[in-house]
Amino acid sequence: MKRFFTVVIAAAILAGCQTPTQYIDPSDRNTAQTPGLTYADFQVAANQLTGEILASPLMVHPNTAGGERYVIHIEGVTNDTMQRIDTDQLVKGMRVQLLNSGRFFITTAFDGSDNATREMRNLDNDPMVDQSTVQPDGTVIAPDFSLTGKILQRNSNLDNDDTRVEYYFQLTLTDLRTGLAYWEGERVIGKVTGQRGASW
């Protein structure tokens, strides 16, 4: 019986050391931190970069009053970090805010995110489909701007042997008619970790 209690107490102590599963606020940057990138980091970067695009006088369509909007094509954001991340985590947050602003359209016809625009036009020979409802050719809107970018990571040593980790979110909006960059933005997120080894 004595041994039984010893085992029970030991198990209880061990269980007590384990962090119980709990909900966290994913946008809270002060708890449950990691040297890698989190939702909170993407949210901050997306908010700040979108805010800059919306504030840029060059990114206002000259006929906004007439209801016209710029169409943006997302070319892609390269992950140049040491983390296996999906850069859509950044892009999605920006797309949502740009669309919700009412000042931009985002095209999904050319970036592979939705191939239906192209594929559904192949229904024009399908006897099953009411041909009057098939989308005609010549109606897809070509984009005015292309959004490209990169997320970079740079690690460096601090004097106390800790590691400073910096993430650079770099984006460019290029006017497809002229090839000129109308807007460029960079946000840096920095962290310090005492981990001796890899930061991923």
């Binding site: 390269t78 992950n79 140049d80 040491m82 983390q83 690690n155 981990q195 080894g197 890899a198 991923w200």
Partner: protein, 464 residues
């Protein structure tokens, strides 16, 4: 009837346990011999089967034995099972990161637990070059699978591991050694024993302490840096990649002191400025031969106790032994291969830099075992316990000879141009006709040649 409880003396229990744990060394040496035998003769399915058995990978993909997970990942790559290779190497990487970030307290506990046995009873501590090669191989796997995003991530990781290696090597190793001696309980005895051991080793196995190699400047693995440069040059995502590629090739030229790599650096500039296009450029990467392995040697060293000489003690220590590969000159259209990295040099310089740690641990163990044997003899009435203690002492004397033996002896590269549908690779007198896709802009051909007597494993990346 009441059960009779047999009470065993504590030293008998300790001695029996030590003998059992000591078998770890012998088992490990036998595993290594099995795998190395299959690998040397390029019997890859057999090598794979041994590594699978030893890596102890569970249902969740976690490995119970790092060194074998690394061997398995490399073997799967050689077999062309690139996705499996990455899964296994991912598991190995989690273990490498765990070992790297293990707290000093946990390490001390582990070390204390091994004090009555040997280093082989400890978890395998990965070398920096293990981690760098792990990520480099994963990068090549992803590149060959066409997953450029993840290939880039792995190359970044490999470069980061090189930075961490520099941080380690830049710390004054002499200062670390002195700090370890200063922290010892019986400092003068440890110093005397250490100096005695060094003298003996120099006499018997001098090359262990005097590496014939000098580390590459900045402790880089030039193959990893070259891979990074090649990848960024051939898969640029912006002008920054051309700058990084140029820097990488310059660095390889500098650390290998071979200006041949400046040709790649110049090509980067021409590509960036649009003065040249990738019209049939071909790089043949050769991973050749077999890296050094660890073997054991035994040596009698003087042990000091309380500042005075006590007795000689037989110690088992590891040394590195090269393996003959019988490799011949590699060429394409008479364009000869250029050495990118000497893997043996990388392994040996890191091994030598850590040798003092192995020696200090073994002296500490020898001292502890000697004290225990003496205590047992003092309390022993019939001599049986003393005999058991001496037996345990002998059985636990074994060196840690674990090493990732599936690495190559060296990496080479041949730059060539596509002239027709084939690249003609000559490895000595053996010719290999490698088909390439003519619609591709450039090609990277990866060749793994385990020895001059085995058939090379060839795969091609066509850059579209």
């Amino acid at each position: 009837m009441a059960k009779k409880i047999i009470k065993l003396p504590w030293f008998t229990v300790v001695a029996s346990s030590a003998v059992l744990v000591a078998c770890v060394g012998a088992v490990q040496q036998s595993k290594q011999a099995n795998f190395d035998g299959a690998w040397r003769t390029a019997q890859l399915p057999l090598a794979q089967s041994f590594a699978q058995q030893y890596a102890e990978i569970d249902r969740n993909g976690s490995t119970g034995d790092l060194v074998w997970a690394l061997q398995l990942g490399i073997t799967e790559r050689a077999l062309g099972n690139l996705t499996t290779s990455n899964q296994v190497l991912d598991s190995a990487e989690r273990q490498v990161n765990f070992e790297d970030n293990e707290s000093a307290i946990a390490r001390a506990g582990e070390l204390a637990g091994s004090m009555l046995v040997n280093d082989a009873a400890l978890d395998y501590e990965p070398y920096y070059y293990d981690g760098v090669m792990l990520n480099t191989y994963k990068a090549w796997n992803f590149w060959q699978l066409g997953d450029l995003q993840n290939a880039r991530v792995e190359l970044n990781r490999a470069e980061e591991r090189q930075r961490l290696a520099v941080r380690y090597f830049e710390q004054d190793i002499v200062a670390q050694r002195e700090a370890a001696f200063d922290g010892a309980e019986d400092q003068s005895s440890l110093t005397s024993s250490y100096q005695g051991a060094v003298k003996q080793i120099r006499r018997q196995q001098g090359d262990v302490l005097n590496s014939e190699y000098r580390a590459y400047e900045g402790y880089v693995n030039p193959f990893t840096t070259y891979s990074m440069g090649l990848f960024r040059m051939l898969n640029p995502s912006g002008s920054g990649d051309y700058s990084s590629a140029r820097q990488a090739f310059d660095r390889v030229a500098s650390v290998t002191q071979n200006e041949a790599f400046l040709e790649d650096a110049d090509l980067v500039d021409r590509l960036r400025e649009g003065r040249e296009s990738l019209n049939g450029h071909t790089w043949v990467i050769l991973e050749r031969g077999q890296s050094v392995i660890k073997r054991e040697f035994r040596i009698g060293i003087p042990i000091y106790l309380y500042g005075a000489f006590n007795d000689y003690y037989t110690m088992a220590l590891p040394y590195l032994r090269p393996r003959p590969s019988a490799l011949s000159v590699a060429s394409v259209n008479e364009q000869r291969a250029v050495e990118v990295a000497d893997m043996n040099r990388i392994i040996e310089t890191e091994f030598s830099s850590q040798y003092w740690r192995i020696l200090v641990r073994e002296i500490t163990r020898a001292t502890a075992k000697m004290l225990i044997t003496r205590e047992v003899a003092r309390r022993d009435d019939d001599g049986l316990a003393t005999f058991a203690a001496i037996l345990a002492q002998a059985a636990t004397t074994s060196a840690d000879t674990r090493i990732v033996s599936s690495l190559p002896e060296r990496f080479e590269v041949i730059r060539a141009r596509r002239e027709d549908d084939f690249i003609h690779l000559d490895l000595g007198t053996n010719s290999h006709k490698i088909k390439v896709d003519r619609s591709a802009r450039a090609h990277v051909i990866y060749v793994r040649e385990i020895s001059g007597q085995t058939e090379p494993i060839i795969s091609t990346i066509n850059i579209q």
